[in-house]
Symmetry: C2
Subunit: 494 residues, 2 copies
């Protein structure tokens, strides 16, 4: 490229700009969630976007540039830096770096962007926001129960009604127990275990039949692609299916069914049930019963990451797509116990449990459960009709602002028609007009742009509309603020 | 590095972690400033951290990796990406990309991190936060005056008293006028012009004598480094010095002095004075007189960037360092007009003016003008003394939270002494204790940790302190919340 070429103005592939209403909605939601986290004793921690690649946990491969899911670059001292891909890896680095100085347990929350060097797709961006809370240094079950209760409060504070979501919980040790009961306990079964768990993870999407194929020889999907199966014996495959369908209506029932399954056959399984039992009992005592937190044996989550309880929050009512079919929405938040994360640095196990809110999904969920209410509310626009009276117009805007009304003066230097068009484009609720006529009368004209737009749609014979009288009112200058506030509040005088 | 080595947990060079109190203070400050921007009709815009390097405006040099002040990396489609180094370059890209769809003028504000690939130093980090507001598509002087007035409101809303800061204003055309009056108007004088402006920019720091040297042959600084001078004739150097000292107590006086200087001698200079005159008159009418906005001919700012008015906000009272000497604090905000920024993409001039708050400097300024008041306020810690009563302890914490008190249960599994130490480390105002004795009596013990810490410092004969009676009270369980609130609000019952 030579310097005389003009560069093309475009966002980078997989990134996007965000504007007014969406930012405001996200900011409001994150403030409500943060307030819950803070009231539960979590303090904010802000770590940098760039971390040493090795500290972040993506090791340098044998290529020039580490590029496996993360954005990496080499510093001028030759060290590799990467943009954080989540908020947990920097937390592990922070805890290891400051271990002796920190209060233990260490409770922190964090909100911020993360980056993934992945192929972008519809709704899949390479930068997105996460909102996490973690307790480091506390073993199961108390910290886990707390984390789940706090998540329920946070989702409710964000605006999703108590009846509109549920938190499903499972335990990694219970899954280990299941695998042990079908003879996949040993180290040499690790690859097959992974295949079984991957198949189970597809239960909600594929149902019995699909998972049965994936547990057996394999499955050909609609596009014709074949996924190799786990090659379980039929009897073992059925055990897995039965297991996934054995979640009971009450958590006590689920636990006793699981205990029957594992007693004397899997220590890991028994440990998992005990943990689930303790957590759900603690939660029930605190008021979080099965209508809010339920054991669900189809929950799998991050395969090589969690070491104990895992959970996810889901909307109970699915939105419908344009054809009226329910849309698969996915988890609005998820989390679990990961006792190994600091081990990389310290060589010792540090118990930890955390939750991560899917910020853009929860925002979409809010749009759905509340109905689209996030319309842009623009400022009042004071028209600038006489150049030498700019100070007067600014004084009007200042008066409106002092009364709590967003307001600005049009600064573009165009004529009245263009100024009204600008006010419409800005989503202004009304325009304040004082030309020479109004000034001579000591008045201002207030044009109700919301009503005006509705009338323009409704009135067939739009003579009156074209005369511009339908949605405007003239008031003495001294009554400008009151009249504007009345109109904004929907209390129109005509 | 082999995979069996443990990575060292450390922040990357020039980056830092930030904790509780600082984050809360910054968040509060940015919310107040954003509220002002919004009430003036500016909407938030959020652009991604990564942009195409050419769109950002740092062109690829002839080396493999562009590295001149920005962090850059190559995407898997070979395109270069860079982390944004400010919020204005992405704004220019956004405006050019969406030009036809945007309302014009386009008013937006933005808050977020930016990155500089520079040598870090004390207090100089490679990631920091900016907070900008810009109006694109409106010429001087109205948008400039508005921007300055809004900045004054924003700084005040952030918490700096009206009497504690001032906004100094100058105009790039006035500087061009000065240079024309000393014969440096032509294209071939560009390098010398730059040297003169650089010398002038050091006026506040070096004073008459230093600037006189830099305008002449050059200057050797304390370390012995020699800076080559602009090699002006003595008479021209004196004109420059006189010019910089000719800011008058009133803006009207400054403008008439300047008009005398430029009349018939520099069209650019005359234009600059007219703009300054119009802006300061508009501001005065709106209540921003010389006590808040003053013409200061020593203000230079970004040399190759601004095209019209430039301004900066400064604290009026300097903090003192440990030796009682005033600390040079620098501008807490700055801005100006830059009419060329979108030209790179569009080939046409789009007038623009904006302001940028120096977030960390303004935070430091707030610390100074308000006195250090940003102490960490930790949650109430409910001690967990009996393992099987965790649900009771959680119920206590939940009750406190419902009453608006931050509260958490200790989850670490240690003994009472360690739990109290934890509460101290967390900055807890008090600890709630219910062991078996208290439970038998239907009471809780509340330990006032703030008073306790003070007594521990004050009491010489600390027998009573050691008995643990000095700063604690037992109340019936039902009165726990009231008692805790009274203690936190400083209304102690003993």
């Amino acid at each position: 490229m030579t310097r005389t070429d003009k560069p093309k103005a475009r966002t980078a592939r997989g990134f996007r700009d965000r504007l007014g209403a969406e930012i405001a909605a996200e900011r409001d939601m994150l403030a409500r969630i943060s307030e819950v986290y803070e009231s539960w004793g979590f303090d904010p921690l802000d770590t940098p976007a760039l971390e040493y690649t090795d500290a972040l946990g993506k090791f340098l491969p044998d290529v020039d540039r580490p590029n496996d899911g993360v954005f990496s670059l080499q510093d001028d001292d030759e060290q590799w830096l990467s943009l954080r891909y989540d908020l947990t890896a920097p937390l592990a680095r922070f805890v290891a770096e400051n271990y002796d100085a920190l209060p233990k347990p260490f409770r922190r929350y964090a909100v911020g962007p993360v980056w993934r060097n992945e192929k972008p797709g519809p709704g899949r961006y390479r930068q997105f926001t996460q909102c996490d809370a973690d307790t480091v240094g506390a073993p199961a079950p108390f910290a886990d129960a707390e984390c789940i209760a706090m998540l329920a409060e946070a989702i409710e504070a964000a605006g999703v009604g108590r009846q509109d979501f549920i938190i499903r919980i499972n335990d990694r040790n219970v899954l280990t127990g299941l695998l042990e009961t079908i003879g996949l306990g040993g180290d040499d079964s690790a690859p097959q275990r992974l295949k079984v768990l991957r198949a189970m993870d597809k239960f909600t999407r594929l149902g019995d039949q699909g998972v049965r194929q994936l547990l057996g020889i394999g499955r050909k999907d609609e596009s014709g692609d074949f996924t190799e199966g786990a090659r379980l014996e039929d009897v073992d495959a059925e055990r897995v299916i039965t297991f996934m369908k054995s979640s009971a209506p009450t958590n006590v029932q689920s636990c006793s069914r699981l205990m029957e399954l594992f007693e004397g056959r899997s220590a890991a399984g028994a440990k998992g049930v005990e943990t689930l039992s303790a957590i759900t009992e603690l939660l029930k005592t605190a008021g979080y019963d099965e209508s809010r937190v339920i054991i669900d044996l189809t929950i799998i989550r991050g395969l090589e990451y969690y070491t104990g309880p895992v959970f996810e929050a889901e909307l109970l009512t699915a939105p419908l797509d344009e054809q009226g079919r329910p849309v698969r929405f996915g988890a609005i938040a998820s989390g679990g116990r990961y006792d190994d994360l600091v081990r990389r640095f310290k060589g010792v196990e540090v118990p930890a449990v955390g939750v991560s809110v899917g910020v853009s999904r929860l925002l979409a969920a809010l749009d759905f459960v509340r109905g689209r209410s996030l319309e842009e509310r623009g400022p009042v626009v004071v028209l600038a009709l006489e150049k030498d009276r700019m100070a007067d117009y600014q004084a009007m805007a200042a008066e409106l602002r002092r009364a709590g009304v967003r307001a600005e003066v049009y600064l573009g230097g165009a004529g009245m028609k263009a100024q009204l068009k600008y006010a419409d484009k800005r989503g202004a609720p009304l325009a304040v007009i004082q030309g020479s006529d109004e000034r001579a009368r000591g008045e201002v004209t207030i044009k109700d742009l919301v009503l005006g737009a509705r009338l323009a749609r409704e009135i067939e014979d739009n003579v009156k509309w074209r005369e511009g009288q339908a949605a405007q009112i003239s008031v003495p200058r001294a009554q400008m603020v009151d009249a504007a506030k009345r109109i904004i509040e929907g209390d129109r005088a005509w």
